[in-house]
Each structure stands twice: as structure tokens, then as C-alpha cells.
Symmetry: C2
Subunit: 170 residues, 2 copies
């Protein structure tokens, strides 16, 4: 059931059996656009949603983990990739699903990558061969486009969600 707890000013979920109040909060997703000799690392998802489609390594930040550590962990879990963080590429507030996505730009420490349990395969794509029609989520497209714009820049403010772009799959 939904209630407004005492001293609060918004509706929260309440378990009527035990009185436990679940505060629902936005979730933090961390990921990285990883490059190696002009090529970009993508992973083909082994899990739903969007199984079979391509994504950058990304996932939920864990407790007691910095955003940079989280991006490095996800690169390892999904692509057995070791990376060096270069810059905070983008901060996307995805309102429909209440996610804040922090996407880093990172350099692979070697081209030796392989699929982790959540990936069917991983691949280092030449820029001109990127699978634009088979990307898993809109934010993967935004991140790749922002990566291209960032390459000429030394210091830059993180990109934000392109205005007018749908957050949903089209």
C-alpha cells in the first residue's frame, strides 16, 4: 500500500503485514565506453532485457563502491576487460526508469577481452562497423555519439541526455 509517512512529504510503499516502509530511490548505473587502438568494446547481452543486442559494459553501482570502481568492475564482469578511466564522459538522467547513468571514457589496457557470464560475445568494433541498428538501449547510442564528440577535447564537461531524444526503445 502507498502512504505518506509522518514527517515525510511524499508517498512511499508500505508493507501492511510488517509496517516496513520501502523508500524507492533512483538507481545509479555506471559504465564505460572503452577503446583500444581506435576500436570500441561492445558486449552482446546474454540476459534480458534486450538479449542478443549490443551494449557497453554497464550495470548497477554496488554499496561501498566508487563510481569509477563500479565502471571498472562492470568492464571486468561483462568483458573480462581491464581498463583505465580517462574521463567522465556523460551523466544521463533517464527519467522514465529513474536511473542516473554515469558513463566514463576508458582505455583498455590490452585487447585481450572475452565474454563474462552476462555476455554472449564481446567484440572490438571499428568505428565504421559499429552495430547501430542492434544497440540494446538509447543510452548506448548517446554514449557512442558523445564519445566521438569528446575525442578532440582535453578537458570537457560531461555530456547530458540529448534533448528531444526518446528514453525508450523505438
Amino acid at each position: 500500500m502507498v502512504v505518506v509517512p509522518e514527517g515525510d512529504n511524499r508517498e512511499r510503499l508500505l508493507c501492511p503485514d510488517c509496517g516496513f516502509i520501502q523508500y524507492q530511490n533512483p538507481l545509479i548505473v555506471v559504465g564505460a565506453v572503452c577503446h583500444w587502438q581506435q576500436r570500441i568494446l561492445l558486449c552482446r547481452r546474454a540476459i534480458e532485457p534486450r538479449r542478443g543486442y549490443w551494449t557497453m559494459p554497464a550495470g548497477y553501482l554496488e554499496l561501498h563502491e566508487s563510481t569509477e570502481q563500479g565502471a571498472m568492475r562492470e568492464a571486468w564482469e561483462e568483458a573480462r576487460a581491464q581498463i583505465e578511466i580517462e574521463a567522465l564522459l556523460a551523466v544521463y538522467s533517464v527519467l522514465t526508469i529513474s536511473q542516473v547513468q554515469l558513463v566514463y571514457r576508458a582505455r583498455l589496457l590490452s585487447g585481450d577481452v572475452s565474454p563474462g557470464p552476462e555476455s554472449l560475445e564481446v567484440h572490438l568494433f571499428e568505428w565504421n562497423a559499429l552495430p547501430w541498428e542492434q544497440l540494446a538501449f538509447p543510452s548506448v547510442r548517446w554514449a557512442l555519439q558523445h564519445y566521438a564528440q569528446s575525442r578532440a577535447l582535453q578537458q570537457f564537461a560531461p555530456f547530458v541526455k540529448p534533448t528531444g531524444e526518446s528514453e525508450e526503445l523505438e
Copy 2:
């Protein structure tokens, strides 16, 4: 009780009465260092923790809210301040409390500010009169120091937590 759910790889909190699994996730805090004619807006906290100490406007991001919207909302709630976001000043991963704090640099649209319900008072401080010894949290000090460093910069990467600095009050 603490369990590892099927298909998961980490411990989660489980309610033994109803089976509800509570995924504990890092929380997102949004705030802003707000300036007006060389002065900085701070609020003296009316609530615990750190009642009576000074902070920038900041608080938890709500569902379906962008990080910029959240920073603007907090400035209004705590200081009745209307602001224009200038830049993402900093992203602090505060590991001990599993918070990711996104702090913006913002310009006040007027010097007309007043305390909201969570503030005892609000004040526009000259830089040389900032209450360094009465700041509520370490991240307020970091943000003020990073604000000073950012003023000369047009485009800059967000600052991160200073290395070697304690996350706790000293």
C-alpha cells in the same frame, strides 16, 4: 535476515515474514554551490544530523527527476532560492555511507533567499567570511574549495573527492 537470492551473487536483506527482498543501493545526493555577486549561499541546518551547522542546499534525488531538477528543487526547499545551473562542479563517491553526490555550480537569479522548513537561517557569505569551522559535512568543504578552483575555468571535468581526505567528521 541476510540471504543471497537465486541468480544473484551478493547478500541482500530479506523480510522473513513476507519474503520481500530489499535491495540496498547507493543513494544519489544532489546539491549546488550557489553564488550571487561574489557571495555564497549557505543554510544552517534545522534538522539532525548536524543541526545548527552550515551546508549548501542538497538532498536525496527523487524518482523521475533529473539531477539538475533535483539540485534546483533542493535550493528552493531549503533556501527559497531560484537558481540557474552553470556546470557540474563535482561527483563525490562517499564510500562509508554509499552516497554518490552530484554537486552543481549555480547562479542565484536574485539575492532574495529565506529559510525553508529544514533550515534555521540562510546567509549569503562573502568568501572571506565563510564559516569553515561550522560546516555540516566534509563534502561541503570539498565543494567550496572546488568551487574556488573552478571559477577561472570555462570547461572543466567535475572534481572528485580529494585523495586522503576523511569522509567522516573530524
